[in-house]
């Protein structure tokens, strides 16, 4: 299928999510193209995770459309969206604690293979098994967790668990990834390495990434384009330096020194 650049990747059109009287996401439109790293930032409670849940089908938007590579996926259940190449990680990590790290990452691939075909739950051929093993090994290498392969996620630090979750979606081979605060809990060195991993995914594998992130320095460093939400409403979008220079963004984050510092560092 040939896609025009405007169609590639993930597009939201006028997405609205209401919980009773509360409008958690208010007419958000954005475009996260393939082979680009798009940031989604905003203060706590801005509606970022709710937007993710609506995109992946875990909650039902009140109105609006979600398009993936030009195809409307608004009505599909979560697993069907994943089957079309949309993967995500969770702010509160959703790992399989009774499996080893390697099995976790491998299941990332296997779950997609099994899909909704009962026969493929029960048996898999040698070729498929090899494919799973290669995908898992590569993904663990790329995220730098090869040494942890035989440990259980429950024994790992928060940062390491984040990397396991990242490796799992990498192994799945999704074309579009939604990452929900992937760097929180990582130390400085890990964060740096993590930034490189993201760039490798985007630049070498052509994966599109939409990333919710609180580490402003990281966002400013790696993101190609940034959307800013506040109280569910989009308040600004632009490149890193445009965002850093925007008085609207500054006022939304007013009082948060770390963010202000990062913004100032970027615009200076």
């Amino acid at each position: 299928m040939l896609l025009t650049p405007a169609e590639s990747g993930l597009q939201l059109k006028d997405l609205v999510v209401r919980f009773g009287g509360l409008v958690a996401v208010d007419t958000v439109s954005l475009h996260a193209p393939a082979a680009r790293l798009t940031g989604l930032i905003g203060p706590n409670g801005a509606g970022k995770t709710t937007t993710f849940n609506a995109i992946t089908g875990l909650n039902r938007p009140t109105s609006g459309h979600v398009r993936l590579n030009g195809q409307d996926i608004s009505k599909l259940p979560p697993q069907a969206r994943a089957q079309r190449g949309l993967g995500r990680t969770f702010q509160r990590m959703e790992l399989f604690d009774s499996l080893t790290v390697r099995e976790n990452v491998a299941l990332g691939r296997e779950a997609g293979m099994a899909g909704s075909n009962p026969l493929r739950f029960l048996r898999c051929g040698a070729a498929e098994r090899r494919q799973v093993r290669t995908a898992a090994t590569e993904a663990m290498e790329l995220s730098g967790i090869t040494a942890l392969a035989d440990r259980r996620p429950a024994d790992l630090s928060t940062g390491q668990r984040r990397l396991v979750e990242l490796a799992r979606v990498i192994a799945s081979g999704f074309g579009m990834l939604l990452l929900d605060e992937p760097s929180s809990g990582l130390d400085k060195a890990e964060t740096h390495r993590f930034g490189e991993t993201l760039r490798t995914l985007v630049d070498e594998r052509g994966v599109g990434i939409l990333c919710v992130e609180h580490d402003m320095a990281l966002v400013m460093r790696v993101c190609d384009y940034i959307y800013v939400l506040d109280f569910g409403k989009p308040i600004f979008n632009g490149t890193a330096s445009q965002v850093a220079g925007s008085p609207i963004v500054k006022s939304a984050y007013l009082g948060s020194e770390a963010v202000e510092e990062a913004l100032a560092g970027r615009s200076a």
Binding site: A82, R88, S98, L107, E110, A114, F121, R152, A154
Partner: protein, 649 residues
């Protein structure tokens, strides 16, 4: 029209009793997040205490009633509140196991004291005619019960709306810590809720026994299912709707019983009515209205075995050798049939293990699948089919009901799935067992395969099947399906967002588990030469879950420990009273295991040791230790906060 009036009067009266019972249930569930499956057993206990006080100790009924409702109920409530606190920190499945354990323990205790046969319960409320409706007399008892029902509902609603304690009760569910900050002790609030709940339970037990004019522990424990029906109509939340729901269920039940007199095929449908209400309710109530109350806690993963592989293999080998030698051992002799029974149950326990432990689902009707398997065997042998084929057909026959149970499993999880399966098991027992396509009124002949009439030769065949089913489950656990099922237990949401249909996974596991349970039931049935409804009492579904909970966390322990506990040991004990006591011990042990589900067996002992060392060291040191324990890295499972993300759509 007139011929309906007596049924309507009876229906409304018994419905009021269900309503009172349901209010107690919903109140305690709302305030503690622990759904008391043993609520019916509490009702029964209340009725028996009343029976003892009035008919054995010859107290006047108002005194006996006051003692039951105002002393026994509150005391019970205080105990239950402590239990609910113990269960509050464990995943829903273990809350269910814990209250199932309580049910088993209480029921055994009552059986131990009063025996299992029913006794005459003299009505105590005035029986004179109050008024008549179109020629049907309505007696004072019925009027009093109805008024009592409405008065109780009215009082509770007023209490909730107007009193400070009532408001606090509404708050305690949402956030006990926050309530604590506002100056109300959550423990005190919960204790009152359990006191009111248990008093209501005791009252409904007494009234129910009175309307039945007899007292029977099994019937009274079942009362809870009628209350479940009423509670479903109240969506497990609304107290006033409980009484409405109770009356709707009571009326439906009596009207159905009138209508089915002309159709012998439908006999028993009236008894199954509350269940049908429960099952349909769980299927049609929008899922967002069925959010479980209280914090949702994720089960802690079972750590990998610390025993090195060669030792494990040696252990399995030795076990197999012992199993092969059993018929020759000196202590077996006449007890061999019990070993045979235990072997047939290995398949049942590993199938339940696969469902409950591996994939995090729950079934309170597993013995019902076993019954269907035995029925399949009996009928197929009746058509002249060979044994092996008949057993397999018995297993296959369990797949349609397993699919039926998988429907609520797709929509619901945890508590509501457990309720749906419990209801299904009871409906099977009450409505289906008696039909000619099942056991019929008498018994159904089942035969052993040709050449295996001798217990010893049959032992080896059964051992072969048991080993095969253990291997099957071990292979499943190590396969892709096993990883998917463990993933299903840990995080269904993650599986979905990786592109897997969790519904398909649920359907598969219910079908496999149901099939194996059916095979086990067929083999179990073949031991006796004939089977009847009483061979497959629905309570056993609860007992096996309790026993599974205390038999360790791995396949091998479920396969070996559980059947020995349930069949071999009682056979050596022999004495029925001692065995009832053993059953009670299973119930108590299951409660203990449930309360400590997030830690190991050592947790309560560690806690005890800490407490006594705190006492020695003084309060300041103790506070310091607690602070350290609180700030340090916690290895406990983390509660999942906020609204639950729906798992499927």
């Amino acid at each position: 029209m007139n011929e309906y009036i007596p049924y309507i009067i009876f229906g409304v009266t018994s419905g009021a009793v269900f309503g009172i019972s349901a209010m107690g249930l919903v109140l305690t569930y709302k305030t503690s997040g622990v759904f008391n499956i043993a609520h019916g057993a509490v009702c029964a206990a209340g009725a028996y205490v009343f029976y003892s006080l009035r008919q054995q100790a010859d107290l006047p009924w108002p005194v006996a009633a006051a003692l039951v409702v105002c002393v026994f109920g509150p005391l019970m409530g205080i105990v239950l509140e402590r239990l609910a606190v113990a269960f509050s920190g464990v995943p829903t499945a273990f809350k269910i196991v814990g209250t199932v354990g309580l049910l088993v323990a209480l029921q055994s205790l009552i059986t131990l004291i009063y025996g299992s046969t029913s006794r005459v319960f003299d009505p105590f409320l005035p029986q004179g005619e109050a008024f008549s409706v179109s020629g049907t007399k309505v007696n004072y008892e019925q009027v009093i019960i109805l008024l009592l029902g409405f008065a109780a509902a009215g009082a509770l609603v007023t209490f909730f709306r107007l009193s400070r304690l009532g408001t606090a009760m509404r708050g305690v569910v949402d956030d006990p810590a926050l309530l604590d900050l506002t100056g109300d002790s959550p423990t005190r609030v919960r204790r009152y809720a359990w006191i009111i709940g248990s008093s209501f339970a005791a009252m409904s037990g007494v009234l129910f026994a009175s309307t039945q004019a007899q007292i029977d522990v099994n019937v009274l424990t079942l009362l809870v299912v009628q209350a479940f029906g009423a509670a479903t109509i109240a969506r497990f939340q609304s107290l006033p709707l409980c009484i409405v729901g109770g009356i709707v269920v009571g009326l439906l039940q009596k009207l159905v019983s009138k209508e089915i007199t002309a159709y012998p095929d439908l006999q028993g449908l009236d008894l199954a009515t509350p269940f049908i209400v429960l099952f349909i309710g769980l299927l049609v109530i929008p899922r967002r209205k069925l959010v479980e109350t209280g914090r949702q806690i994720r089960a802690k993963a079972v750590p990998p075995s610390r025993v090195p592989r060669p030792f494990r293999a040696a252990g399995y080998g030795t076990t197999l050798l012992v199993a092969l030698a059993i018929p020759q051992l000196w202590f077996v002799g006449a007890h061999l049939p019990a070993y045979n029974q235990a072997l047939t149950q290995v398949t049942l326990f590993v199938s339940l293990h696969l469902l409950v432990r591996t994939s995090g689902q729950i079934s309170l009707c597993h013995f019902g699948f076993a019954a269907i398997g035995a029925i399949g065997l009996g009928h197929m042998q009746g058509y002249g089919m060979p044994f092996a084929l008949a057993v397999i057909i018995g297993g296959l026959l369990c797949i349609p009901p397993a699919l039926l149970i998988a429907i609520p499993a797709i929509r619901l999880s945890g508590l509501y799935l457990a309720l749906a399966t419990l209801g299904f098991g009871i409906m099977l027992a009450q409505f289906c067992y008696g039909k000619s396509y099942m056991f019929g009124f008498g018994s159904l002949a089942t035969e052993r395969p040709a050449g295996f009439s001798d217990d010893e030769t049959y032992y080896y065949l059964l051992l072969g099947v048991a080993v095969a089913s253990v291997i099957a489950v071990l292979v499943i656990e190590r396969s892709r399906l096993g990883r998917v099922l463990r993933g299903l237990s840990d995080s269904p949401v993650a599986l979905q967002t990786l592109g897997l249909s969790v519904n398909v996974a649920r359907v598969i596991v219910f079908c496999i588990s149901g099939f194996m349970a059916g095979i086990s039931g067929a083999l179990y049935g073949s031991l006796f030469g004939s089977v009847s409804a009483s061979t497959f009492n629905y309570v056993n579904s609860l007992v096996i879950l309790a026993v599974l909970a205390i038999s360790g966390r791995r396949v091998m322990s479920a396969a070996i420990v559980a059947p020995v506990l349930l069949y071999v040991i009682p056979n050596y004990i022999g004495d029925p009273d001692m065995n009832t006591m053993l059953q009670m011990a299973f119930g108590l042990a299951a409660m203990f295991a449930a309360a400590n589900a997030q830690g190991g067996w050592d947790v309560p002992f560690t806690r005890l040791a800490e407490r006594s060392s705190d006492r020695l060291r003084g309060p300041a040191e103790a506070r310091l230790r607690r602070l350290e324990a609180h700030d340090g890295p916690s290895d406990k499972a983390q509660p999942v906060h906020g609204p639950r993300v729906p798992v499927t759509r």
